[in-house]
Amino acid sequence: MTDSTKNFKLDERLSAFLDGEASVKETHELLDHIERYPHIHAVLDQHHRLRARLRGEFHASLDDGFVGRVLAEIDAPDEYKSSNILAFRQAKGKMPKLMRATLGMAMAASLAAVTVLSVQALLPSSDGAFPVITADLSGLERRIDSRHAASMSAEDLAELNHYLISHNNSSIDHGLNSTMGFMRVAADDGSDFFEAGR
């Protein structure tokens, strides 16, 4: 349906629109395009959500994030506790340009979007460490390969988060998890994400 050039330009156009840098004509063209092509609507949903998370950077508290992670660790079932926690290093300071460009286009909530807790857990912590909690692999006593995880790039993280957004979108329409999915979407304030982006 789309070649890579068109897709790239779409991202650029969405980015300009969400950054308030699109002209009136460009805005009308884009809105018309979104209205005609529903799949672009879904892409915009994800941009909206992640943008909200980026905005939270300015009111996120480092201490809150730390306490939250500690509480999550305490509350985690035994098999997920510290022996299985790998702290994955992220580059400090600004996010990589590609990830920033991808996430920077995003904005806020929609029912067709996201999972808060997943993004929260997938992003690097404020000190640059990214805690990933691993679990047994069906009793085979295997663990996630730390070499793989440690080298997980910002692009991989962004991609994983987009999958989670899409998954929550699907969860809302099916099963008892609709309530949880709905609340994750509706309650998302983006604060954890922004702590991660610092």
Partner: protein, 333 residues
């Protein structure tokens, strides 16, 4: 097998007091009816780990029309309005309004009577007794998984109105992985029209409307990726291609459900640049990723690790596959 027993024992241990067998289809059907046809308003909180978020909810049913308004009480200001199947999200920070037409049933869970029959094959549905939530007597219900491929649920259902006032997603030891709970609830006879209107004047915002009523995806696909054995009770309900932000090629997306839990599988046509492999756990969500030929396969959902791992290992690419994965057989627990 040992794991399954431990799982059942763990949950049973946390649910022992007052355990009484009940007619699950009755209470699930009454609950599903009540969340649609009752007027209610209150405050709900969502709790996961050390995180808590709150929302105000107003729900009205009048003359066959169902309306709902959700107002975020924490984080960015935002409102979600639902009028039957039309959902409007108002995002004041972005000066944007999104209007979707969706098939979902609203904030509180609804299950059809047909799906209850399917569910009872894979979950043991039990009544556990009575407890008070926000000062109201509730019937406590549990859905205990019969195998290790799904998590359990516990619900507190208002005895007088049949509205669920608390829902928990439970891990294998009976611990709450996620909770949604009313901290305040009332059931007014009538709700004023003005209470369902947004607090924000959004007429100068950018309005984004979805023309297609149901399909947000690029296309429905019937071949390509197929699943071999599925975890017992799971069936495929979505098979589509999606565009993802920042990704040049479309990703194939499948959704599987057992009627309560959902699992997504994503197949991206990428090479070895993907580093994420293996298992990661995020609250109630478990993700598992692996490389299959030139594709990166990621499976995730509010299910145990065994489920995502089984699905990921059973997905394969068959360019000319004539059948849908939903028809595939189930794995043994």
């Amino acid at each position: 097998m040992k794991k399954v027993l431990l799982c059942l024992l763990g949950i049973a241990a946390s649910l022992q007091p007052g355990m009484v067998q009940s007619q699950p289809d009755d209470w699930l059907a009454r609950m599903s009816q009540a969340v649609r046809t009752r007027n209610y308003e209150g405050v709900m909180v969502y709790v996961q780990g050390g995180r808590m978020e709150s929302m105000r909810i107003i729900h009205r049913y009048k003359d066959g029309r169902e309306q709902e308004r959700l107002l975020a009480l924490s984080g960015d200001a935002r409102e979600i309005l639902r009028d039957n199947d039309v959902v409007t999200c108002i995002l004041p920070q972005d000066r944007t309004v999104k209007v979707d037409r969706r098939s979902f049933g609203g904030l509180l869970p609804t299950l059809s009577r047909a799906s209850v029959d399917d569910i009872s094959e894979y979950y043991d549905l039990r009544e556990l007794g009575t407890e008070n939530i926000v000062g109201r007597a509730c019937r406590v219900m549990a859905m205990i998984p019969r195998d290790a491929y799904r998590f359990g649920y516990r619900m507190w259902i208002d005895k007088e109105t049949d509205v669920p006032l608390k829902v928990e997603l439970l891990g294998h030891k009976g611990e709450a992985l996620e909770q949604v709970m009313f901290t305040q609830i009332s059931y007014p006879d009538s709700i004023d029209e003005n209470d369902l209107k947004p607090a924000v004047d959004a007429k100068n915002f950018a309005w984004i409307k979805q023309r297609d009523p149901v399909n947000n995806s690029m296309s429905q696909v019937a071949d390509g990726w197929v699943a071999g054995k599925l975890p017992p009770g799971f069936r495929m309900v979505v098979h589509e291609q999606q565009l993802m932000p920042g990704m040049q090629d479309p990703v194939e997306h499948m959704v599987f459900t057992d009627g309560l839990a959902t699992v997504s599988a994503f197949m991206a046509p990428r090479g070895a640049q993907h580093k994420f492999k293996g298992v990661s756990r995020m609250g109630a969500i478990t993700a598992y990723a692996r490389q299959v030929d030139n594709f990166h396969v990621t499976v995730m959902g509010e299910v145990p690790q065994a489920t995502v791992e089984l699905l990921a290992n059973e997905l394969r690419y068959e360019a000319l596959a004539p059948t849908m994965p939903a028809a595939a057989g189930s794995a043994s627990p």
